[in-house]
């Protein structure tokens, strides 16, 4: 119905139905009133089954994805990719060749070693730097990948590329694509939920945009402070009863108008969206209330403890969301943009996320959910082995789009392996080197989607997450 006003496109076999337009962030929480609206098209779908649109095209290895976004560019050299060579080169001058020089190279630059010691953990002997004291217990669940490269050396463009495939923003986010492809399992919740930091990442909400996909695929940020969704609650002297009565009067006024335009389905959809919104006012706060979790669970995630409280809550909430069928949950932690004092900055950041992430993996595993859930840990790029040394000690690292470490856990990945490699200084990926688009294709594949078939016609061409197509990184897939 809303199709008649949206951008025209050739028949792709997908119409923007009323159902989609209601399921924006506008997911219904409690679908009683909705059932009537959906009845005409729900016959084909058994309750609880995904209302899929395009896929799955392949056998899914995971049903959900939890994406741990380490914004700012975590250093692979100080987390999961040890570079003993840097011990030898420490404070020796670093000279970059080539014409692609940027201002980053102004002044003298020096190699700097990692301030952290590295050890191997688990049967698999996964390398981790010392500040990771909890994650190492889960070492054999992880699949490390050191071959990924991106195009952009600036945060927002690299974030856009990580999240949407397109450096310049405006395209749909990963979670939008996945929900577009697989539909939602839980009609009462949005399929793409974002748990941002109090301060939004560079590039802002465009990182979880629906882009040219229907607005219903937009990521729903649940804000960690204040109202989780903007304007979720009415002004404070509006009781629920007063709102209900206002809604009833609105409905009666709308009824007269609607009678004059019975063909105009958008009017009914709009009416229903008011009812959904009214219900969400009570159900969303309930979802966010962690009171029902056991004290043991809470403390395992580090909830209520510093410095883990903030990310611990997000990780626990991520599990609760995935449990309820949310397809794609994206968590933000940062900023890992440590140009100076990497020891202090990265050390603190690792301590903030280490325990919550380990708890999340353990919790998922214990509940039998890990095999259906793909967990990804990733920044928008890695960091350089060199730095303009600040005051002799305050060194950090700059942006490096040519080398980074990403790890995966859960559904369908080769746990206990480290794939790809960077050169001996961590400057550039040299083994199993792939563009990030191949990473996107791999993620889709694990979730049962074929990037080449997960397309949307916009602006004169079929668009896809990878932009131009590519190849899955088969080595990562079990």
């Amino acid at each position: 119905m809303s199709r008649m006003f949206s951008c025209p496109r050739p028949d792709t076999g997908i119409s923007v139905t009323r159902r989609e337009s209601l399921f924006g962030i506008g997911a219904s929480l409690g679908s009683i009133a909705l059932s009537a609206l959906l009845s005409e098209e729900s016959s084909a779908m058994a309750p609880g089954r995904p209302s899929g649109h395009l896929g799955p095209h392949l056998t899914p290895r995971a049903k959900n994805c939890i994406f741990l976004t380490m914004e700012g560019g975590p250093s692979h050299i100080d987390t999961f990719d040890p570079k003993p060579e840097l011990e030898k080169l420490h404070l020796k001058e670093f000279i970059r060749q080539g014409k692609e020089k940027s201002a980053m190279e102004s002044g003298k630059r020096y190699y700097v070693r990692s301030p952290f010691k590295f050890h191997q953990w688990g049967q698999s002997g996964a390398w981790m730097s010392e500040p990771w004291v909890h994650l190492r217990e889960m070492a054999d669940e992880l699949c490390f990948y050191r071959g990924c490269q991106v195009d952009s050396v600036n945060h927002p463009t690299a974030m856009y590329q990580l999240n949407t495939g397109n450096r310049f923003g405006g395209d749909p986010g990963l979670g939008a694509w996945i929900n577009y492809g697989l539909g939602t399992v839980n009609r009462d919740l949005p399929g793409f939920v974002v748990l941002p930091e109090v301060s939004y990442p560079q590039g802002g909400a465009a990182n979880w945009s629906n882009g040219y996909l229907p607005a219903s695929y937009q990521g729903t940020p649940l804000r960690p402070k204040g109202s989780p969704i903007l304007d979720l609650a009415p002004p404070k002297d509006f009781t629920r009863d007063r709102q209900r009565r206002n809604l009833d009067l609105l409905a009666s006024l709308n009824a007269r108008h609607q009678a004059a335009h019975p063909w105009h389905g958008e009017l009914e959809a709009r009416l229903q969206s008011y009812e959904l919104a009214f219900r969400m006012q009570s159900t969303v706060p309930g979802l966010l209330d962690l009171g029902g979790e056991s004290p043991r669970t809470l403390s395992s995630y580090g909830v209520g403890l510093e410095p883990t409280d903030s990310f611990g809550r997000k990780c626990l909430l991520a599990r609760r969301l995935v449990e309820r069928g949310v397809r794609f949950v994206q968590l933000y932690a940062g900023s890992w943009d440590s140009h100076d004092y990497i020891e202090r900055a990265h050390g603190n950041l690792i301590r903030q996320v280490d325990r919550p992430i380990a708890a999340l993996l353990a919790d998922l595993k214990q509940r039998g959910m890990l095999e259906d859930t793909l967990v990804v840990w990733c920044g928008e790029f890695g960091r350089t082995p060199d730095n303009g040394v600040r005051g002799g000690t305050a060194y950090g690292r700059d942006h490096n789009p040519k080398a980074m470490t990403i790890w995966f856990a859960g559904g369908g990945v080769r746990a206990g392996h480290t794939l790809g490699a960077t050169d001996e200084t961590g400057t550039v990926a040299v083994e199993e080197v792939r563009h990030i688009r191949d990473l996107h294709i791999t993620l889709l594949k694990l979730l049962g989607l074929d990037d080449n078939r997960l397309t949307f016609y916009h602006g004169g061409r079929f668009k896809q997450l990878s932009q131009f197509g590519g190849q899955a990184i088969e080595a990562l897939i079990a």
């Binding site: 463009t157 301060s199 006024l253 108008h257 063909w263 603190n348």
Partner: protein, 938 residues
């Protein structure tokens, strides 16, 4: 010369060439090149499945399956054919990408070629066959262009109907049969199968509401409604009077500028990592408003935006107009390679010119010849060469008398912030000096060199040198003091200080851009050499030696679009396919630094350029009717939708050129047609499909939801709060307070909070004038589909999602409007039912029905006694404490952000200032603002 046949048979070209040979040369071979050989070609590294389709021998060898790729004579046994059908169990669908899937016709060529014996021709033979015969209609047409990267592209054939946009515009000759309006005459022939029924003319109220929103983006006032109903003149005259009144209203230019600004991606900030403010972008926005209001001929409108500075270098308006070229997001951070950033600008401006004026997104041709349209990559770089001497700068441009320079005194608030940042840096500097001395003492180093250095760097600068500590360190280093004896950088910094220093330092940097608002500079361009840059942290100016210093760019075709991989040099020019169909358009493009853009402007605005006039005629039509004639206003290429009424589109385009490119003439024509004045599908129709068919055929009017801006502006007009001031520096209305204070990371720091203007009249400007920050959309406008300025928006989307309900039913700004409407209605009328009549009149432009009146009265009265007492609203905070993770330490830190203008903040009417009767009535107003009748335009 022989043709090697598939079955090994051979033939000479002298003999009659078979259909299969022609098919191969013209169709199959180019198709293989376009769709297959990237993965199945010579390049072994890229080859997939071991299959090479480059030579007949390799085709016969086949791929990993071991079967030959083609079995001559037997399509159904040929893997090549089976794969492209995408329907065979054993053979994977090819090409893999949905984008590349073959059309039925193309699959048919492959089939016919195989069935015809699969003859294979080498290059010279292929070229001979291709050029030998003219080809039939079905085989399509070749188009002469500047030439593709391969002969196969150059000689490829296009379906005739895909070239419609390049052909000359048919001259507007249609005589009107009888007294029919020409537009109605063109629309008369119903598309086959459609009903020939038409909706009746809409009623007067609907019509006035429709045209008033259409031309001004606002609802008619109750007085205007009354005047229209009471106009004694017969219908066409009264209607024409309305058209003239609205076209003469300055509100017209504001609303139609909004359309244009959607297309050009207008924003007041530069996007990406820094999202720096473009302090004077507003002057371009206002220039567009003035251009529409003055009915500037469209060809001039085009010329000035592309080359105003070259055409009228002395005219400030012409300089301001070139702001168009700067609309894309752009920055150069210290991290990025300057040449890449420069190339981003060039690519952006090339594509934008194509999309905006020519209905051609050109970016496809950046890396390769266009896959579907006759746009060779050479043409892309020819257009780009036009901009090779175009440099960005904010140019000194005096304010014209026509510009609104009110409100510059708000600058004082920025200066207070500037002062606060300065003091913070000074404090930190003093702290570091003390800490540095302590460090020297602790480590038993001689303090004298430090003291000497400090004294030297502060000499003559008083105590106000906020960087003296760091300067002293650098001086010591230069003087050869061993590094280990120099006190450390940022000595004595706590995590708090690291954050504070960064926020202050970057805050000063950001203020430089914001202070630009009040200065006589224009977001513009100049001609010159490309200056060397390492980062842009303050507004750019024209360098004095613009023609001497820097790189003289020689544009070349860039392999893969990579600025470090130039191949063949190109000269400035336009789209050569256009010149093939319309030789008059050909223009001389100079090679000198200056004049290239002027030439392009002439080329685009040429009356015979068929894209330019069709594109704007189509846009105007779409903005009036909510549906374009050619379905994709930004894409007139073969992948865009074909015009539903091609003759009408040509008639409109031709008429517009003949009328001196007058926009207002076009409005008059369209608005006076019957099609425009028809009712929407009515109550007798409940089949949405049937309604859709009627609307698509212009037999019933297509209703639409109001845009985000229209919703807001209509409420402000209903409450009487709308400030009609035109133009000027962007204003800042109150937005959702949590969004206003939402911390937002920008490069190295946090963007300042959204602080509303202090005075209600400043806040209640039309939505067009709100500061548009790329990184922070007004959540209200955003949920109602205000387009993000990342992409050109050819047409507003409409979606129905629950966040709209939260914004429109719960949000602060709406409750303020509801209260203001209640207060106004009570002020302007007497007893309760007359108050309600006034509410309906102001909000919906009609009186309530008796039933509505009764239910609203009952609701109102029931609410009054139960409303809780309202306490005084809390004043706007004059500072906020921000919490963030500091990147130097990875630790949380907080900082205080001052909001100086909030000291002078005058709130809108507050609930505690009115009685319960008014507050209860505000609920009725809220409900009306949320009603479908308010939100939809019929």
């Amino acid at each position: 010369m022989t043709v090697v046949g598939g079955g090994g048979a051979s033939a000479t070209l002298g003999a009659p060439v078979g259909e299969a040979e022609v098919l191969f040369a013209r169709r199959v071979w180019p198709l293989l090149q376009e769709k297959c050989t990237a993965c199945h070609g010579e390049d072994e590294a890229k080859r997939k499945g071991g299959l090479d389709l480059g030579t007949w021998k390799k085709v016969q060898q086949g791929g990993e399956s071991g079967l030959p790729g083609v079995v001559p004579g037997k399509a159904e046994s040929s893997p090549l054919y089976l794969s492209v059908t995408r329907a065979h169990e054993d053979w994977e669908a090819m090409p893999p990408k949905e984008n590349d899937r073959l059309e039925a016709e193309q699959i048919g060529w492959i089939k016919a070629w195989i069935e015809g014996g699969a003859p294979w021709l080498e290059e010279t033979q292929r070229n001979l066959v291709r050029s030998a015969s003219g080809g039939s209609e079905q085989e399509g047409e070749t188009v002469v262009t500047s030439g593709g990267l391969s002969g196969d592209w150059t000689y490829r054939r296009y379906k005739s109907e895909d070239l419609w946009a390049y052909r000359p515009v048919a001259s507007p000759i249609r005589g009107a049969p009888g007294n029919k309006h020409p537009i109605d005459a063109f629309l008369e022939a119903p598309p086959s199968g459609a009903s020939s029924l038409s909706a009746p003319p809409a009623d007067k109220r609907t019509l006035l509401r429709r045209i008033t929103f259409d031309l001004t983006g606002l609802p008619p006032t109750p007085e205007e409604m009354k005047d229209f109903f009471n106009d004694p003149r017969p219908d066409p005259e009264a209607w024409n009077a309305v058209i003239e009144r609205l076209l003469a209203s300055p509100r017209y230019g504001e609303h139609w500028a909004r359309h244009w600004l959607d297309v050009v991606r207008y924003a007041d900030t530069s996007g990406f990592a820094n999202d720096f403010e473009r302090g004077n972008a507003w002057r371009y926005r206002d220039w567009v408003v003035r251009a529409f209001n003055a009915d500037m001929p469209y060809d001039r409108f085009v010329r000035l935006q592309i080359a105003g500075d070259e055409i009228s270098p002395g005219d400030p308006e012409a300089i301001i107009a070139t702001g168009f070229l700067r609309m894309g997001p752009w920055e150069l951070t210290g991290m990025e390679v300057a040449k890449i950033a420069r190339q981003r600008f060039l690519d952006d401006v090339t594509n934008s010119v194509g999309e905006t004026f020519l209905g051609h997104s050109l970016q496809c041709a950046r890396c390769h010849d266009h896959k579907f349209d006759p746009v060779p990559t050479r043409d892309y770089y020819s257009i780009q060469a036009v901009f090779a001497t175009t440099q960005i700068a904010d140019r000194r441009t005096p304010f014209a008398a026509s510009e609104n320079v009110n409100g510059f005194e708000e600058r004082q608030y920025l200066l207070i912030r500037q002062q606060a940042y300065e003091s913070e840096l000074l404090r930190l500097n003093d702290q570091s000096i003390a800490a540095g001395r302590a460090w020297l003492k602790e480590n038993h180093f001689d303090p004298a060199p430090f003291d000497r250095a400090l004294k030297a760097v502060t000499a003559g600068k008083g105590s106000g040198n906020k960087g003296s500590y760091e300067q002293a360190r650098v001086k010591m280093l230069k003087e050869g003091v061993p590094e280990k004896e120099i006190p450390p950088k940022l000595a004595g910094f706590s995590p708090q200080d690291f954050g504070g220093e960064r926020v202050a330092r970057k805050g000063l940097e950001r203020l430089q851009w914001e202070l630009e608002r009040y200065e006589p500079f224009a977001l513009a361009v100049y001609d010159g050499l490309t200056p060397q840059m390492t980062g842009v942290f303050r507004p750019l100016r024209i360098p004095e030696d613009r023609m001497k210093s820097g790189e003289r760019e020689q544009t070349a075709i860039l392999a893969g679009g990579d600025p470090f991989a130039p191949t063949v040099p190109v000269r400035p020019g336009g789209l050569t396919a256009i010149e093939t169909f319309n030789p008059e358009v050909k223009t001389d493009f100079p090679q000198s630094e200056t004049g290239r853009r002027r030439a392009l402007a002439e080329w685009i605005a040429h009356p015979k350029n068929p894209l330019t006039s069709r594109v704007i005629a189509n846009r105007i039509w779409a903005w009036h009717f909510g549906q374009p004639l050619a379905g994709n206003p930004n894409n007139f290429g073969s992948t865009g939708k074909k015009p539903t009424h091609p003759e009408l589109l040509d008639w409109l385009a031709g008429t517009m050129v003949a009328a001196g490119w007058s926009m207002k003439t076009m409005h008059r024509l369209i608005l006076s047609s019957q099609a425009y004045q028809r009712a929407a599908p009515g109550s007798d129709l409940d089949d949405s499909g049937e309604a859709e068919a009627l609307m698509a055929a212009y037999r019933a009017f297509r209703p639409r939801r109001l845009t985000a801006e229209e919703l807001r502006d209509a409420m402000l007009q209903a409450t009487g709060e709308l400030n009609p001031e035109i133009g000027g520096i962007p204003n800042r209305p109150e937005i959702n307070p949590e969004a206003a204070f939402q911390p937002r990371q920008v490069m190295g720091t946090f963007a300042a909070a959204w602080v509303p203007n202090p005075l209600p009249s400043q806040r209640h400007r039309r939505s067009l004038y709100g500061l548009r920050v790329r990184g922070l959309a007004d959540p209200f406008l955003e949920v109602f589909n205000e387009p993000a300025p990342d992409f050109s928006c050819e047409r507003r989307e409409v979606s129905t999602i629950t966040p709209q309900v939260f914004a429109l039913f719960n949000g602060l700004p709406i409750h303020q409007r509801a209260l203001a409407l209640a207060a106004r209605s009570i002020r302007e009328s007497g007893e309760d039912s007359s108050v309600l009549r006034r509410v309906f009149d102001l909000a919906l432009g009609r009186p309530p029905t008796p039933v509505e009146l009764e239910s609203c009265l009952a609701h109102w009265h029931s609410l009054i006694p139960e409303l809780p007492r309202v306490s005084e609203g809390s004043p706007m905070p004059t500072e906020i404490i921000r919490e963030a993770v500091e990147e130097n330490t990875g630790e949380k830190f907080t900082f205080r952000e001052i909001l100086p203008s909030n000291q002078d903040f005058v709130p809108d009417l507050q609930a505690d200032q009115v009685d319960a009767r008014t507050r209860a009535l505000a609920d009725i107003c809220l409900i009306l603002f949320n009603s479908n009748e308010f939100a939809y335009l019929y």
